[in-house]
């Protein structure tokens, strides 16, 4: 029954969502507000579903897994439960225990993970960024130019380096990015129409 209803629902709601961009009527605004409400509600529900799925997956790992896998799953679930309990019991505002744990534990962990990228990048550019072909040479010269222009010393070392860097960013880069955006936009429109017309399911599966 739900499966049978889903196709007309998608067609009606999808058409309404598109129509409100072109119909500046009060009724259209009302429909738009309701659709947006539902969008936020559905994504909130998806967030809860995601958390539950994560908890279920890690609970299964604890019951079936071995060694480090079991320990890591336990740490994940324990941390989730602890933060949930702290937030619910003591609040989440500035100065709360939840906020203090976030600022002194999670934030430094995230920053450390990000900063590790710099070390791996240095190793990667030394070992892999090689002049092995014409495209690789273009990429390497562009990267060197943009990198040098971003350094305050760059202009002193190579006069007018900023001019070349700006040209690379505003010229070829913008052209390629626009091409990508146009491609993404057209593909999104095509997929949207296929879903609305019932040719394709929202998950990408072709309907029989």
């Amino acid at each position: 029954m739900i499966r049978r209803l889903s196709r007309p629902l998608v067609i009606i709601l999808g058409s309404l969502a598109i129509a409100q961009f072109f119909v500046p009527h009060q009724a259209s605004r009302w429909v738009e507000a309701r659709l947006l409400d539902w969008l936020v509600l559905l994504e909130s529900a998806a967030l809860v579903a995601g958390i539950l799925a994560l908890a279920r997956r890690h609970a299964a790992r604890i019951s079936r897994g071995e060694g480090p896998e079991r320990a890591l799953a336990a740490v994940t679930l324990g941390a989730m439960a602890f933060m949930l309990a702290t937030g619910l019991a003591l609040g989440t505002g500035p100065g709360s225990a939840f906020g203090a744990i976030y600022l002194s534990v999670l934030q430094p962990i995230q920053a450390s993970m990000m900063s590790l990228l710099g070390f791996f990048m240095a190793s990667a550019v030394f070992r892999s960024f090689r002049l092995t072909s014409a495209p690789a040479t273009i990429l390497l010269v562009s990267a060197l130019t943009v990198l040098l222009a971003r350094v305050p010393l760059g202009e002193h070392l190579v006069p007018r380096i900023s001019m070349f860097s700006t040209w690379i960013i505003r010229g070829p880069n913008v052209a390629a990015t626009r091409g990508l955006w146009i491609g993404i936009g057209l593909a999104a429109c095509a997929t949207g129409f296929r879903v609305i017309l019932g040719i394709q399911g929202p998950t990408g599966a072709k309907r029989s």
Partner: protein, 281 residues
């Protein structure tokens, strides 16, 4: 003798990665410890960002979407700091929203500190709406019906009870929409917000995303753009508020110079090894 140099250069291809890691650490730590500030030449897009904020005057409202987390705070937080200081110093009011659930605590703590330093009152001079899922839905709802998507602020107070938020009606409330984001939320603000808000949009991004948004400047979808630590430093310099970004830029510049040297050295070692191992003629 020449061959010895070649062998030495070729041997660099087998250099221990820990030496490279040590070089990176030194390139970053030494300039930070030296605390040497630096000066930069602001790019046109940074000046656009600066001018858009300068046009905000006393009593007007700025919508700030601060969508970043601990991983990207090092380059985005200096942007928020300077922007909020500028907004408060101009006597403007601030409506703050966060579309990254991992950044809520970080953003609120930072703006609270800046507001306290500027002597601004919560509810009258600034308000934090908090987080809601679905960036496109929130962006569009905020422009048409803010009370529907945010009936209460992040602290649980009814929005209608706060003097600043009581008069909000949607897209025409703001003189400027400023987005400081590390992820795809910035794209959502341009795509869904550009046509809906009757205010210029300015964007602050992580350095890696900057080039992707250059096209939006040419089409005037955004009024200004600051990208990465360099963009943050340019904005600090334009506002005359030297801060964390200008201080950290010398470390980043040194790391960039090291990367350039490693690229050149890596290629030299690669070709030296190739020359050394060439088949005899």
């Amino acid at each position: 003798m020449r061959l010895d140099y070649l062998a030495l250069l070729a041997s660099l291809t087998r250099i221990d990665r820990r030496i490279l890691y040590l070089l990176v650490a030194l390139a970053i730590v030494i300039p930070l410890l030296a605390a040497s500030g630096t000066r930069v030449t602001p790019a046109a897009e940074s000046e656009g960002f600066f001018r858009a904020v300068q046009r905000v005057s006393e009593g007007q409202t700025v919508l700030l979407a601060a969508d970043y987390n601990g991983a990207t705070a090092f380059e985005l937080e200096p942007m928020v700091t300077t922007l909020v200081q500028e907004v408060f110093s101009r006597g403007a009011r601030l409506v703050l929203v966060c579309l990254d659930p991992q950044g809520i605590g970080l953003v609120e703590a930072k703006v609270q500190m800046l507001a306290d330093a500027a002597g601004k009152t919560y509810g009258t001079d600034w308000v934090f709406l908090g987080y809601r899922p679905s960036a496109p839905g929130v962006i569009m709802s905020l422009a048409s019906a803010p009370y529907t998507v945010f009936p209460r602020d992040h602290r649980g107070t009814s929005l209608r009870a706060l003097p600043l938020a009581a008069g909000l009606s949607g897209h025409s409330d703001y003189q400027l929409v400023a987005v400081v984001a590390s992820g795809p939320a910035a794209q959502d603000w341009v795509i869904y917000g550009h046509a809906r808000y009757r205010a210029p949009i300015v964007i602050g991004l992580g350095g890696g995303l900057g080039p992707t948004f250059q096209g939006f400047l040419d089409t005037h979808a955004i009024a200004g753009l600051i990208a990465g630590l360099r963009g943050a430093a340019e904005y600090e310099q334009l506002t005359g508020r030297p801060g964390e970004a200008l201080r950290a830029l010398s470390a980043q510049a040194m790391a960039h110079l090291l990367l350039i040297a490693l690229i050149i050295l890596g290629n030299a070692a690669f070709f030296a090894a190739k020359w050394r191992d060439r088949p005899p003629v």
